[in-house]
């Protein structure tokens, strides 16, 4: 018995309705609302009154030097964190994919950050970055480098954030890449062995190219996540955007604009700008990847 397409669509929607309702109320409506409010000039949160629709909020945000700083910081963060952490993740995933002893132990070690509270991890890192007692300064002292004030020196704030960012992005990336690697037919490795290829050659000529679709996916996910950098700042810098407010990121700026300054409309404009940047970059990446795609 076949049902009419319309009827089965109706049925499907019925089954999906609890989920759809949740998505509409908690995702779609707020997003649409933010988009709308970002164009309302002179918007008042309490009453919802506004003067007219226009681009006023956008010009205000783009003229704000804090926002420009936030864009710059976020841009640098994405630029360093995404490629470095993805490259490291490929390496670790390849090591984890070997049939070595204690694999379970290694896997636990790598995935631990994922199941640990972000704040707890952040505090641990804050301790590691500590000027007097931190492990980093201890290690630096071993090679004769004088201690660095990682968290309280404006020059090193972004670096500290980036290192922490690279580290926190690893586990999820490794899981995805490992899944991708385990999907590669072991026959290709046997063939490469017969062809005489050694480990490194096999890695670069077989594993990486065959993993390209997964790498592409991981790059996009990581880029989107990196653009949203914000919560990483809280434990490291006591809830402030770095020392002397030097480490504003776009999301932190939106957060402050909304919760501190109560400027819903400019916060919305900043959010839309961020959305637009991420959207364009994602499209560019998808386009490049389509060109890469070889099979």
């Amino acid at each position: 018995m076949t049902k009419s397409p319309l009827k089965s669509l109706g049925e499907a929607l019925l089954y999906l309705s609890p989920f759809l309702l949740g998505v509409i109320i908690f995702s779609l409506y707020p997003v649409a609302n933010v988009f709308l409010i970002s164009f309302k000039e002179g918007y008042r949160m309490a009453t919802g009154a506004f003067q007219q629709y226009g681009l006023g909020n956008y010009t205000r945000v783009l003229a704000d030097k804090d926002f420009i700083l936030a864009l710059k910081n976020t841009g640098l963060y994405v630029l360093f964190v995404v490629p470095i952490s993805t490259a490291l993740a490929i390496l670790f995933a390849a090591l984890l994919n070997q049939k070595i002893r204690f694999t379970g132990l290694f896997q636990t070690a790598y995935f631990l950050p994922m199941v640990t509270s972000g704040t707890a991890v952040g505090l641990a890192w804050k301790w590691m970055y500590n000027y007097d007692y931190g492990i980093f300064n201890y290690l630096l002292s071993l090679i004769g480098v004088s201690p660095i004030n990682f968290l309280n020196d404006v020059r090193y704030g972004l670096l500290s954030l980036i290192i922490f960012g690279i580290w926190s992005m690893l586990p999820f990336t490794i899981i995805l890449l490992l899944a991708g690697m385990q999907n590669i037919d072991p026959l290709y490795y046997t063939a490469a062995k017969v062809d005489g290829a050694k480990t490194t050659k096999t890695f670069f000529r077989i594993t990486v190219p065959l993993l390209a679709p997964t790498i592409g996916l991981v790059l996009i996910i990581n880029m989107i996540n990196a653009f949203k950098v914000c919560s990483e700042l809280f434990p490291l810098f006591n809830g402030k955007p770095g020392v002397a407010y030097s480490l504003y990121t776009v999301v932190f700026y939106i957060y402050d604009e909304f919760f501190l300054n109560r400027q819903l409309a400019t916060a919305g404009a900043a959010a839309v700008i961020l959305f637009f940047i991420v959207f364009v970059l994602t499209m560019v990446q998808l386009f490049i990847q389509r060109k890469w795609k070889h099979y």
Binding site: D185, L187, Y188, T190, A191, A192, K193, V194, D195, G196, A197, K201, R205, I206, P209, L210, A212, H294, Y295
Partner: protein, 353 residues
């Protein structure tokens, strides 16, 4: 190069994939490794290629022990059952890959790839990716890649099993031609007896990891060493009648017949199997030693006519002249030629005659 293996054994846990295998593969020959699925043919190839570590025994290439040498030091070309072409590389890159690993200069690589493309007839496909090729084309590319390094010998694992019937015929001629053109010692695995018989210089028949018989195709067909070999070769399959020996005659089970086929004395009362090739039956042919059989069915297969005969509970197939005048239900005399008539011990399968 000549390959010699001695008491080669491979175990996977409790399974013995290859059991005490000894043989010599002569230089420049095309040798078929024949046997039913799971009898250890692939394992045998993988041990020769160095991919599967040997459990015990020895492998010698031209007298040099290579048992523990890694694959890249053995200089073998291996074509996998499903080709295993690198999906992300073009045909050209696939063929060049082993040369690139061997640090051959780009110019020489391209030259060699050109030669090989010509040999296996894929000149027009060099820029394609494997998924843009048909099964037969992938097969050719896989052979070209395996030959790129001028291997001392070429191993082909069921090279034709993934192709459709027509292409299979074409490719088996091609493999024969390529082997002749290059003169490379080639071992090719198959479970298809016709394939093995039609193109190889010699055939190694395997069962449960054990070498059964190593002979030329003709000898294997004419002089099977045991009932397994007789069963495995030939189409239509060989006819078999179980029975016993009584007073120097063969008595088919459940009949009063006494067939006079014994060439020498056999011990009385043994349970034996008489195996008769279809072409060894002379149907409707009276002779001093002929015996009666009932015509059960008649059918045309291609250009030949085949008759199914009943003796007791056993059905035999034989060929019959197109001008015959027999009908289903007739009783006809059957005589036997001297070729293609074998007697096996029913229990052990050992050939008695």
């Amino acid at each position: 190069m000549q390959i010699h293996v001695e008491n080669l054994t491979k175990r996977y846990g409790k399974t013995i994939a290859v059991n005490d295998f000894s043989a010599t593969f002569e230089e420049g020959k095309l040798i078929a490794l024949l046997g039913p699925s799971g009898c250890g043919k692939s394992t045998m190839l993988y041990m020769l290629a160095g991919i599967a570590p040997v459990t015990s025994g020895k492998i010698l290439f031209d007298g040099t022990d290579v048992t523990y040498l890694p694959p890249e030091k053995r200089n073998v070309g291996l074509v996998f059952q499903n080709y295993a072409l690198y999906p992300h590389m073009s045909v050209l890159a696939n063929i060049c890959f082993p040369l690139e690993i061997a640090k051959v200069t780009k110019k020489e690589r391209l030259e060699r790839a050109g030669e090989l493309a010509k040999l296996v007839h894929i000149e027009d496909l060099m820029d394609r990716k494997p998924n843009q090729l048909s099964g037969g084309q992938q097969q050719r590319v896989a052979i070209a890649r395996a030959l790129a390094k001028r291997p001392s010998f070429l191993l082909l694992d069921e090279p034709l099993s993934n192709l459709d019937a027509r292409l299979r015929l074409e490719m088996r001629e091609e493999i024969r031609r390529i082997q002749k053109d290059t003169g490379v010692t080639t071992i090719f695995v198959t479970h298809d007896q016709e394939e093995a018989m039609s193109i190889s210089d010699s055939v190694i028949l395997m069962k449960d990891g054990v070498l059964q018989q190593y002979a030329s195709p003709q000898e294997l067909y004419d002089e099977p060493i045991n009932s397994f070999a007789a069963d495995f070769l030939g189409n239509p399959p060989i006819n078999k009648i179980s029975g016993t020996i009584d007073k120097g005659k063969f008595i088919p089970e459940g009949t009063e017949l006494a067939i006079d086929v014994l060439k020498a004395d056999q011990s009385e009362g043994t349970h034996v199997t008489l195996a008769l090739r279809a072409e060894s039956l002379m149907v409707n042919h009276k002779s001093p030693k002929s015996f009666p059989a009932l015509v059960d069915n008649l059918f045309v297969m291609g250009k030949e006519e085949i008759v199914a005969l009943r003796i007791g509970d056993t059905l035999l197939r034989g060929y019959i002249d197109a001008s015959h005048k027999i009908k289903i239900g007739d009783e006809v005399p059957v005589s036997l030629r001297s070729r293609g008539v074998f007697l096996f011990d029913s229990h052990s399968g050992v050939r008695l005659q």
